[in-house]
Point group: C2
DNA sequence: AAAGTATGCTTAAACGTTTAAGTTTGCAAG
DNA sequence: CTTGCAAACTTAAACGTTTAAGCATACTTT
């Protein structure tokens, strides 16, 4: 069953395709189409169930009405939720979303950028990986509209949507201090990515401001590719000896999940022996026997803003760069031993 | 910065675009291109950093090398994981994925189908919603290649990837019986979707075969749109009175998560007072104080098969319908009180 | 020397749209 | 009775590819 095209309608109506095009794109006024004819064409289009060919349109207009979405890993709850919001929001604006997962890997990221640009996406929403500065800079040179989300590079200005990582981390650590914890540790990723650095900085500053000793030595990192083993090692180090930590701040939900699994195995009681705070949400945190206090990122807002900024960028290339910072909320549960 | 096209290369090389096209699509042999010239063209293409325009190609070939993915909700861990696998697998085959969430809503589903088909996707992978039979039947009439995943309609044959829902549910309930549970309940969705019906049937059959009383009255359902309240009501009914259930089988991960939250609130101890089994995975299940026994669906395999079947279908329209059934694994943890 | 054929390239149409620039007809104004 | 102009269409080019068909030129055959 062949698709019906403008030509089919034109033939059926005994007119040129141009006329049909004008009518079906509601340009009757500008093109001074007769009322009779317009009605007739519309009727035929309806009968034949005409569906415009988006590809032909894109070729002509140079716009695909498609957004490319590059996330670190769509199967991760945080990114999946963002993807969800972005798709909804894009759809509301008649855009469609193509996605891919970079796995925090520079080469995959480059590959995805290439694939998506070849597909003529009108713009990109990206959670950039470590070491992808050059790729991002190149996008900027090429004047490809894009927005970074979750992370960004402080060294050069780009559109980005981020959360106030420093303050959020600071606040989380302060909360632990006020809950009476003395030996607070942190587990983060081993990365130079700015959002993680900021979280680390928030931890260190808060520790300093509250005159807590040994922050540096209690700041552990894990490699993305060796999450499980590295986290276990970190926790082993943190939770043994006379100076064992009485609180851990996890820089990320995946770190927290892995960490809590091991803490469970070790039968370290929370919050009695150890207090815990995590960045990001996770349904697992709700179900944990001691519901986990966490820093809640406003996912809905982040996704919507990302789409908004990107679409504005697409509409008007020379538009000024927008940096959106959104505040998080510290959701206090029982994992720090405080009831509010 | 304008994109370079075949014409640019042709001009630079002083030849026709046809020649360039032949070279860059490696048809030199068939088109008898001179070695010298081929080398020269390739070099120029490299220098200008030529990237083929996918849209133009699609228009010409009538193929977009794009798959449409319609999931119930991409922010749900199960679907997100499937989406992840599908995207990876599609990419390996030089396909790209556009996605959308139907929210278990027929109208949204129809809307997504329209949007994706207008985008000229070459085929669809769908988790069909309740009541979408007509849409699916229409796709079949229109000879649009598609594969259903997770669910399907037994009333008419379609390509689909499914799990042996009946047997899995049966096995889960049998496991509960062998663990000594007497009053086993089930909480499912209120839906006519076949995969859920099969899970219910598995429960009922297993109960009958093991001579367990009161299965019907202990089979509760919750509406997707009123998950929280309905689940609470169901659990209230199941877990009170002298005949209170000593086990609950959740038909889905979202049901289980919501259910466990409430069970936690009620301070019903697992597995002492209540045993629990869930369909699907969830990191929350690992972290639960009594790690949850669950039916593990082979997500990777499901996603890969879906892509395989779809691509075969795209290649050869008259290909016979494929129904893939994949076995699940019952992952036994502590939530049923048994250690293996 | 004529015919055939291999080689290397060009032409042109096509995919389904959009849209600027015609063309034709009728009618009012000069 | 021109001329002007509005109304209602049509033509044709363009977007960037692909690909069948065509056209020289040179090299073999007989």
């Amino acid at each position: 069953m062949k698709k019906v095209s403008l030509k089919d309608i034109a033939t059926a109506a005994g007119v040129s395709t141009a006329l049909v095009s004008y009518v079906l794109t509601n340009k009757e006024k500008e093109a001074r189409i007769g009322e009779e004819m317009a009605k007739k064409i519309r009727e035929i289009a309806r009968q034949l169930n005409y569906q415009p060919n988006h590809i032909a349109r894109s070729l002509k207009s140079g716009k695909s009405f498609t957004i490319g979405l590059i996330m670190a890993d769509i199967s991760n709850a945080f990114f999946a939720s963002i993807a969800r919001v972005i798709e909804d929001e894009a759809k509301r604006n008649n855009y469609t979303v193509i996605f891919g997962s970079s796995d925090e890997n520079v080469d995959k990221s480059q590959d995805l950028i290439n694939v998506l640009l070849n597909r003529q996406v009108d713009g990109l929403i990206i959670t950039p990986t470590e070491g992808s500065e050059k790729q991002i800079a190149w996008l900027q040179e090429q004047k490809v509209p894009f927005v970074l989300i979750d992370r960004y590079f402080p060294t050069f200005p780009t559109n980005h949507i981020a959360v106030n990582n420093f303050e959020s981390a600071y606040e989380a650590v302060a909360h632990l201090v006020h809950a009476g914890r003395k030996r607070i540790g942190m587990i983060a990723y081993e990365t130079t990515l700015h959002h993680i650095s900021e979280r680390k900085r928030g931890y260190l500053e808060a520790m300093k401001d509250h005159r807590m000793e040994g922050a540096e030595k209690r700041l552990k990192t894990a490699r993305y590719a060796h999450l499980k083993t590295d986290i276990r090692a970190a926790i082993d180090q943190l939770c043994t000896g006379p100076e064992r930590a009485d609180a851990i701040f996890f820089a990320t939900n995946s770190l927290a999940i892995e960490g809590l699994k091991y803490i469970n195995e070790l039968r370290i009681r929370i919050p009695d022996i150890l207090a815990v705070i995590a960045f990001d949400e996770g349904e697992a945190f709700d179900l944990f026997y001691s519901p986990v206090t966490y820093i809640q990122q406003p996912i809905e807002q982040m996704g919507k803003e990302a789409v908004r900024v990107l679409l504005e960028q697409i509409k008007d290339q020379k538009k000024i760069i927008e940096n959106i910072y959104i505040d998080t909320t510290l959701v206090i549960r029982q994992s720090c031993g405080t009831k509010h």
